[in-house]
Symmetry: C2
Subunit: 439 residues, 2 copies
């Protein structure tokens, strides 16, 4: 991890981080096609090949779920419950309708319709990610999605971890499938005998999963292409280097490719942060991973002021942004590109990862410039509607007819003219009172 | 156009309509690369090749805009004004913030940040589409996007039509570029000496444009892949076959590939609609195009009841849905998949195309199952933030630490533990009062 002046920073190092998936896509085309055409048989064959396990059944049985829930220790159950409650409480505040616009002779608006079905991909195999289950499924449930399924790779005994099953159970999900990787994405995109086809697939995953989402995204909705984790911590002289270093390491332990940056306007703090990171690194069990990430993408950047810090931050558009400064609210106003922002000393990113409420499935690789973190909004369609009275149509007719002729679309003009002709041939008179048919 | 019973309907005919872009993508890779590497020189070369015109300058000058605005006839100016006002009025009602969630020791929420820059693609060459300018740019403006540019192909004299320039002018856009096709998309995605790189590209276009959007969509935001127009009209015995037929023809004149369907529970009405379509077809200047669309995708479907009509409609997920029935509001409640819904006899789709207010850039090809029509929401990022007090972090610490250990992320646990250690080494005491740093 190096200390650099802002002027020495090579922004290309950051901008070129996005994973190039072309080669991975080529490799998995065959997998996707196999699942598409052979269904369950392909899933069993591919799970044997990649997960080294012969599945007896693809779907987790209710008995397996019940037993897993029973086995989960009480403290973990309590932790899951707190997470679920807090995430649910917060996501319920997210917008899901808006007022109708009523003009004199028009009613206009949008109806918010939840998706019918959503598939959640939960990484697994070596580690367990119950938090992914919660973060992906709770906003879908809040939106009103009826069918939510989970796909997650089995371990070498053909099992899904107890805590993942318990988290799914607490989120009200009972359809869980022991399939991982590109084959899971293909199964949810096209359906097999056992795995239902869904309308949208969400959740993070390996580069095979991400590449598979890219391959199928014309046939099914997908959230976004999540890459390695990222954090920028902006620190002024009020910041505690112990906390800054701790958040940096909590990000670095995720992935050798994780981006870990601190930005400060105090050179002496930069040194302290560096020392703290090195000191704390010794206590991190995943030291090997964290060291690699720090070596590759670890930066402590010295800036002349907070404006420069914000400029660099908005250029990088990090997944997580921690504002360890005296007036974090003021700095928040200058954030233009970031996934999720953590204000002040005690908004530990790790707390947000699990249980403060906001979502942790966030845009990476610079995509925060245009994309938002997963939310209830991602599980709605907003369908426009309009109810126009005859009188209003008459008022607008000149505009429509003029525009239609300008665009060379005469049948468009005719469709209005015919409605306003004196005799509405063949039409029952009670429909021509000039008002919308009903309110 | 055929009359069929619901049971005879082959849904595959509808589901397979989505344009396969693989071959088109292969063809235009070279174009995109050329623009990426040669910038303006490539744009001039490609415009000469495809639009048969030697551009003197790529950007439309202010003088050209002023002269165009002056030349536009008064009635067209008035029509444009009405469109702009109505579209703006409606889009301003669209949601753009939500309340903050305040717990005892937490403040959570999302800030809504408009995109920095948006590129609008406006089809052109043979026809003029001022309505596209308005529908794509007004929601962006409403969201607060500062930089909006337009790319549109020039005609054979190297000019952009007066009415398109006037519409752009009225929408507050002054950066207009005479570039069309895949090269325009590449220019906006990567930037050239003249055309600025934007954060998101919106607007419909030919299959080359759509394919180019697919090619660049990992490097720039795009709206969605719009295909040929679609309409379903649901008609009960209260419907006027003259109006139904007129709306069908207004859709059919768009494109030989347009989907034009009427669904009714009255066999006699089906016949009347068919007769009306044939009669009115004779009066449509774009009869050749409309006939081909009707021949290929024209259907009048006879159903046993409105539930069956809605079932078929939701399966097809049409771009436009017209409810020509006695109680359209009731039927609206059953719509799950559609882009925009038109209620009753007088909500002519053509009026919605121009000036009632809702957007006309809508999902097609079945993508209305998961995607919504263009709106203000498409021009915002929603950035999560959280401000957690020390006390609240202490309360949540057991949950975070338990979850972190379950997921094997010990540095996550440490990042919380270190914040709650008795002595906050090196940290000024006034920051440890247990409250968020500021409200």
């Amino acid at each position: 991890m190096k200390i650099v002046k802002a002027a020495e920073l090579n922004m290309k190092d950051f901008h070129q981080r996005r994973v190039k998936l072309e080669k991975t896509k080529e490799k998995i085309v065959e997998i996707v096609e196999l699942v598409k055409h052979k269904g369950d048989a392909a899933l069993i064959e591919l799970t044997a090949r990649f997960d080294k396990v012969e599945l007896k059944s693809i779907q987790v049985t209710q008995q397996e779920i019940d037993e897993a829930v029973a086995r989960v220790p009480q403290n973990v159950k309590e932790a899951l419950t707190t997470c679920v409650e807090n995430i649910r409480k917060f996501h319920r505040t997210q917008w899901n309708n808006e007022p109708e616009f009523r003009g004199e002779g028009m009613e206009l608006g949008r109806v918010f319709v939840p998706l019918d079905s959503v598939g959640v991909y939960v990484p697994g195999g070596k580690a367990n990610y119950p938090s992914t289950v919660m973060m992906a499924s709770i906003p879908a449930k809040s939106a009103g999605v009826k069918t939510i399924i989970v796909c997650t790779p089995p371990d070498k005994d053909g099992k899904v971890s107890d805590v993942v099953l318990a988290a799914a159970h607490m989120c009200g999900i009972s359809h869980i499938f022991k399939v991982g990787g590109a084959q899971a994405i293909a199964a949810m995109a096209y359906g097999t005998q056992t795995v239902p086809k869904v309308q949208k697939i969400v959740g993070p995953g390996s580069m095979y999963v991400v590449a598979a989402k890219e391959l199928v995204r014309n046939d099914v909705g997908v959230d976004f292409m999540a890459g390695p984790s990222e954090i920028i911590v902006i620190a002024d002289d009020s910041a505690n280097p112990v906390f800054v270093a701790a958040d940096m390491l909590a990000q670095a332990e995720h992935d050798e490719e994780a981006l870990v940056v601190a930005i400060t306007d105090h050179e002496s703090l930069a040194k302290k942060i560096q020392e703290e990171v090195m000191r704390q690194l010794e206590e991190v069990p995943k030291k090997v991973i964290a060291s690699k990430s720090l070596e590759k993408y670890g930066h402590i950047v010295i800036v002349k002021d907070m404006d420069e810090a914000m400029h660099i931050t908005n250029e990088i558009a990090p997944e997580h942004l921690s504002l360890n400064v005296r007036s974090p609210r003021k700095l928040l106003e200058k954030v233009r590109n970031a996934g999720s922002v953590f204000l002040g000393d005690y908004s530990a990113v790790a707390a947000g990862d699990y249980c403060t409420g906001p979502n942790h499935i966030l845009p990476t690789g610079g995509s925060a410039r245009t994309i938002s973190g997963l939310s209830v909004d991602d599980f709605f369609k907003k369908i426009y509607y309009q109810n126009v009275s005859k009188e209003e149509l008459r008022k607008l007719s000149k505009t429509v007819i003029t525009m239609a002729h300008v665009e060379g679309l005469d049948a468009h003009a005719l469709s209005v003219e015919r409605r306003l002709e004196k005799s509405d041939k063949g039409h029952p008179p009670e429909k021509t009172d000039g008002k919308p048919k009903e309110k």
